[in-house]
Symmetry: D2
Subunit: 484 residues, 4 copies
Amino acid sequence: MSGLHEECGVFGVFCPGGAKDVASTVYYGLYALQHRGQESCGIAVNDDGLFQHYKDVGLAGEVFSPSVLEKLGPGNMAVGHVRYGTTGGGGRLNAQPIVVNHRKGRMALAHNGNLVNSQQLRDRLEMEGSIFHTTSDTEVISYIITKERIRSSSIEEAIDRAMEVIEGAYSLIVMSPAKLIAVRDENGFRPLCYGQTAEGDYILASESCALDAVGAAFIRDLEPGEILVFSRDGIRSIRSHCGKRPKTTCIFEHIYFARPDSVVDGVSVHHARKTAGAILAQTSPAEADVVIGVPDSGIDAALGYAGAAGIPYGVGFIKNRYIARTFIAPGQKAREDKVKIKLNPIEETVRGKSVVMVDDSIVRGTTSARIVKLLRDAGAREIHVRISAPPFLNPCYYGTDIDSQDLLIACHHSLDEIRELIGADSLGYLPLDRLHELIGTPPGVGFCCACFSGKYPTAVPESGRKNRFEQKIGGKAKARAAEI
Amino acid sequence: MSGLHEECGVFGVFCPGGAKDVASTVYYGLYALQHRGQESCGIAVNDDGLFQHYKDVGLAGEVFSPSVLEKLGPGNMAVGHVRYGTTGGGGRLNAQPIVVNHRKGRMALAHNGNLVNSQQLRDRLEMEGSIFHTTSDTEVISYIITKERIRSSSIEEAIDRAMEVIEGAYSLIVMSPAKLIAVRDENGFRPLCYGQTAEGDYILASESCALDAVGAAFIRDLEPGEILVFSRDGIRSIRSHCGKRPKTTCIFEHIYFARPDSVVDGVSVHHARKTAGAILAQTSPAEADVVIGVPDSGIDAALGYAGAAGIPYGVGFIKNRYIARTFIAPGQKAREDKVKIKLNPIEETVRGKSVVMVDDSIVRGTTSARIVKLLRDAGAREIHVRISAPPFLNPCYYGTDIDSQDLLIACHHSLDEIRELIGADSLGYLPLDRLHELIGTPPGVGFCCACFSGKYPTAVPESGRKNRFEQKIGGKAKARAAEI
Amino acid sequence: MSGLHEECGVFGVFCPGGAKDVASTVYYGLYALQHRGQESCGIAVNDDGLFQHYKDVGLAGEVFSPSVLEKLGPGNMAVGHVRYGTTGGGGRLNAQPIVVNHRKGRMALAHNGNLVNSQQLRDRLEMEGSIFHTTSDTEVISYIITKERIRSSSIEEAIDRAMEVIEGAYSLIVMSPAKLIAVRDENGFRPLCYGQTAEGDYILASESCALDAVGAAFIRDLEPGEILVFSRDGIRSIRSHCGKRPKTTCIFEHIYFARPDSVVDGVSVHHARKTAGAILAQTSPAEADVVIGVPDSGIDAALGYAGAAGIPYGVGFIKNRYIARTFIAPGQKAREDKVKIKLNPIEETVRGKSVVMVDDSIVRGTTSARIVKLLRDAGAREIHVRISAPPFLNPCYYGTDIDSQDLLIACHHSLDEIRELIGADSLGYLPLDRLHELIGTPPGVGFCCACFSGKYPTAVPESGRKNRFEQKIGGKAKARAAEI
Amino acid sequence: MSGLHEECGVFGVFCPGGAKDVASTVYYGLYALQHRGQESCGIAVNDDGLFQHYKDVGLAGEVFSPSVLEKLGPGNMAVGHVRYGTTGGGGRLNAQPIVVNHRKGRMALAHNGNLVNSQQLRDRLEMEGSIFHTTSDTEVISYIITKERIRSSSIEEAIDRAMEVIEGAYSLIVMSPAKLIAVRDENGFRPLCYGQTAEGDYILASESCALDAVGAAFIRDLEPGEILVFSRDGIRSIRSHCGKRPKTTCIFEHIYFARPDSVVDGVSVHHARKTAGAILAQTSPAEADVVIGVPDSGIDAALGYAGAAGIPYGVGFIKNRYIARTFIAPGQKAREDKVKIKLNPIEETVRGKSVVMVDDSIVRGTTSARIVKLLRDAGAREIHVRISAPPFLNPCYYGTDIDSQDLLIACHHSLDEIRELIGADSLGYLPLDRLHELIGTPPGVGFCCACFSGKYPTAVPESGRKNRFEQKIGGKAKARAAEI
């Protein structure tokens, strides 16, 4: 319900034993990663150097009919992508994987993350006469790798050199005619792991839940800065970029983006969320009869809160499972209350009670206010809102859409004002100084929490946040990049 | 995950104040009732005697685009339907509401339930030269009402007479040029309730959660046998069929079909399920570290079990929210394990633990066996399966697809054999003699549990169960009624 | 370009040798009959008593994908239908064949024509408690046959009796579990013929061009009143209704509806049209440099005129082949001149010349005026319009949409006024008293020309034309029967 | 029926008076140019520097729904494209206009033609690190212009320089933020003209029939080598490349590609075809009763033959207007004779007669053989085939798909062998030395007829025809560039 979005999920498969139905394997993987991006998706299949690809707007189940999967044909490797994109723009044009032709053959790229120096790189490339078909970072990356490829003896060498140039967040899967290559940026902002199936095929995925979906056993996460090359000669790890920077994995992966059944960098997402709830029970206790979570992502933290506080956990809401991403509310009145269509409180659970309601975030505050009102209307006596994250105060430059301070309620209002605005009896956020407990590291170590703290682990885009914001509200400027 | 299906959900709206956008209101109602039927849906709008209707296979969100809703136009009343149908057959042809023309004008019917004497009625009608376009009971009902209408002074009188003839389970909404009429059979097999919005519009729905979805306040459930007429002259209740038979509402509505946030015949569905879990904790206790539910319908009973047993409740599985009803698993291997695509265990919750796993039913046993195996592979030490219903032993003739003893595992295996087959360490069903506690009635009173007990509250179809089964396996016979 | 429409085309196949891919055969037949109806189409396949059918709005090529044809399966007989319907209403609901279940099994009906007593029959049936799902005559016919079937020993006997009751224009194909039956009304208003393929399969079709399309050799036209039964026992002709009335085939089939490559009742349509042109050259001669036809239906008559007058024939217009029936002209200006998008004059042919332009009809006059203006703008010096039919003065009750005098320009204007309104230098219609020459019969014998002459060969609907017109303009009344 | 295909049609609009609904104007233009390409189409709209574009596989009427046109929004200029592409590959990816971002802003390109040095240019660009998303020449052109743009003071200067580099056939429309620019290659291979509407908007189009469709008055054809710039400052013609090479417009535009109602380089296409027929009447006379044309493109030449020979012209075939480009023939038997579904002879015209049948070309001979057989089966006594073009003997490198000598029947067979193979009684081609008469130039001047003569007006691709052929049959090599 939070309105926040991760930009992408990537998935790859490499079959040492030769061509098989890799498209279906990727298809299952994309299903499992669908929560990371619902706007568009794509699959590129490589059959011994011959590429077939297909991508379009829509969910994996909408884009990939059995006949499309069949046309993609068998292959010895493949790469897939799910993408979240801004409403109305981009669409099919920015769908990934990007498949390009260059001097040394074809290349497919799937990318999760966001560069901080893409504008500078793009300016430089355009000065050299490069043309761009899309507005995405990924096309910039494909150019940089291509340029390096001309003077490199191998694709992995080109990637290694490109990593000297590109800065920011990127978990990449690159497919060349003969190799499948996974890359994780030096900070390790976005997750990336790999595993192996019983048949011996290697699987790459943004999250371990996608390994589970295709029956692959988890092997390990990629290290920040690592380049992992799968080819006929086996697996090779290139670690020349490892250890250059402190690891700063996005903590919001654990709080919200990742699926609870995934294990990211060795930590169970479900466990991290329960821990957040348990911390909240200590730092923001409440006299209450029941603890409920806002589905789906508030459920785990609610259980953690309930357990730590010794208050019964209850099912507070039923979420309508048939409301798709593309749901358009017809009629005037309904348009005003989409929340009601999606969530319905269980009166039995809350009537006459003091309720702790756990959610993962408050962005603008409007959704939270509506959810609180639903509970109030269902007869809750007191409503204590607990947020399993600190307040958002800063834009994110690493691949999420937390980006304008003007829209973030916590930038303009005190805790008590927010409580008042959302109509809660009390309000508590997860303290910033306890975030590290979610993943069991020392304070401030091993994760990025710049959206909460403002401390960015890399240089930020030159034009800074002001420019970003102008792009957002500058309708015409935005339209420049739009394809219907 | 159970593979059982309710046949339908009905929804109606009557606006005393004149025409408005009733199509959108029904659309929201169908969204809220979508769990009762996902094969096809339809809406008929009545604008002062002029009918417009549209129906097709698909979910409400797929069938009703904004432009289709707009074409349905404004009206002072409307009726909608969601339908579950057998795979491959029926489809668009059997979608409801049925809209027919007869001597006295147009009539739309939406029906939830199943007649027990439809074959006899159909035989009789055919002997008189009637033709049938569909294979559904609803067309039979529309004929019976039409025939009675010829000699009746009003549509409600015709319905009253028709109720002397039709037998079995039916919650109906009938729309005539000037009236909206709700009907519940004498046994009250299927739920039906009504409420009113702040604007004064009356809403009819199979479940109260659909009243919530359109912002209507619940007024009351219809009584078994009641005919409720909405017209310009206000509301009129015809009770000539009330009290003729003992009330026998389907208990499986509470166990599985209805949404937990609905209140059916005065009982919270969520509460009934928690009660089932609590009873199981008494009748089938287990030494365990955690209690988990199989999503979505096992969650409430698991909470009840956990609370009653004093064992912590945990989130055991993540259900993939993007697997649609129409999901087709491509590839050979995957086809063998659809369960894995839909459910993924959270290892954190179950590894090394003794787990109580609560589900709502075991039909053939194959799905249960796979779910147990998922837990075992995720490291569960012991798995104690608890079912929040008694074993299925008999076919249902009242509108569900529990119908062949040959497919029901409990008809052919002992408790211990079933436990063995599904791979559990222990297995416990809800005792038949405690079912009444779910809805707080005296033992054996107020509900139908024929699928468990074999005690049918009405006569059953002449040809009995054998014939039904033959129809199922008789491919050609079945095809007779098929439209693609 | 005339804006007139035939209501339907029918096609059937019977395979004495057993089941085969009859759906594809019908599909080809419907392609060849597509000019007779472009709104909806359908196919019903009978595999030894088991029926499968599919129908929808759209052209044959849109409705029948290879996968849909495959699902229809093999069969030993099949029936198909193309239908023209009024804009906005009817649609999928009124698509044919109608497939119904009655006492003696299933029955599929495909119908071309229009009854004159359908309202009386419908009233009677409704009084007996019959319900109607559609507003089409065909459902009435199916009821009448069904009622007669109860007391008849065979389907053909029932049809024979039904023919005593139904009046008007009907070319029918009826499919029972074991028989395929073709029926032509006593007047023979609409064409119907049959032939046989090299494999021995019998083909029924509205026009002989559909026999050609499936490689069948033409055998003969059905006689007015004939019932032709195809079964395992061979072919049987029932002629009890033959000779009861004078044959009055619709002359407009030859003038406009039928394809020029068809032979209807022994007369080449192409030849009949050339004859019309030749007569016009005598009755309305012109001093001209070139004779052109308005594509497509004016071409043949133009050739006839040119030949008889000794004036060169030229290609006057190019018709855009990509403007589909569903073409929606966006933009205001374009909406005003759809004709221009469809037709473009060849300046080379007409500049500076005196031109004879032959078309098949003038309905409201607006389209003709625009076409004349196109020629004028392309530099034609003089434009002599010749119409290969007499003026429309009366509604048609036999299955075309020539129906309101209020819309027919010839009802309200003199020849010279019409000439003036369409901007022609001269205007000539085919004389009524020479119509018989098109088909080589004695004057006034063998054809219906009621739309020109007002002499109806049957009783006309009781309510007469006034009522029909009211239905047309009575928006609400019309909507009564509408499905989106 | 010939199986030959033009590769593209281009259309542009420039409104000096400011933004309006240019998308609809382009839409109508594409309808009129649809015969030049039916695989994919696209429109790019420029609203004062802001670009919106949409393209997809399908006809204009399929791709551009009213809602898509509306989303493209108003603009002061726009460009559109229709494309023919090889079956199965390319598809959406190679659809045009190409819209790219470069240093100086956005640029849209629509291209008709084929470069002869695209492979060398592409090799060079790839060596510099350029990446290619498509396999089309157009992307190469966009790179060359972009590279020149860096060092040029204007887009037209960049285009002028690019023309020094690119060689071959190209009629281009380039849209920059502030200008719409039309370009025709130095040989003038492909047509390109412009006109103006009554409102003062300028229209660019491949053929004049598209000017007619949007109500624009023809102004003139572009000269070979001309660059025509439309901007706020008016129209500017850059002629630095004019007169560098002899004009060699593709003669097959007149014979087959262009629409008869177009005037190309001052010559009426209809007139050119009639002339071809008249020449054939002299060079290949026949004793015959009737002259018929194979629709649609053989009609005009047939009229010319008939007129010159003094033999009556007749309508020999009806072409089914509902067979779309995407028609898939189901069923085995039918697949063997697609010609029969598309064409049906009019027996009335040919039975018992000696027939001259005029067609525009013979490619492989199989289609011609089937058409001759249709006539024979319809009773034609003698069939004299006349082809309104010389025999194909050489591949075309300028934008058509006449490309492998291995497939061209005339490369391997004598005239008499071909006559025998197609089953004709006599066969005559248009003599090469009279081709110039079609367009009224001196012998060998003003047109390219390399596909007949082998005399190429430019250098041909280095790898020559052999390589092209290998690419064709080299399935894997071809697949390299394929997107589904």
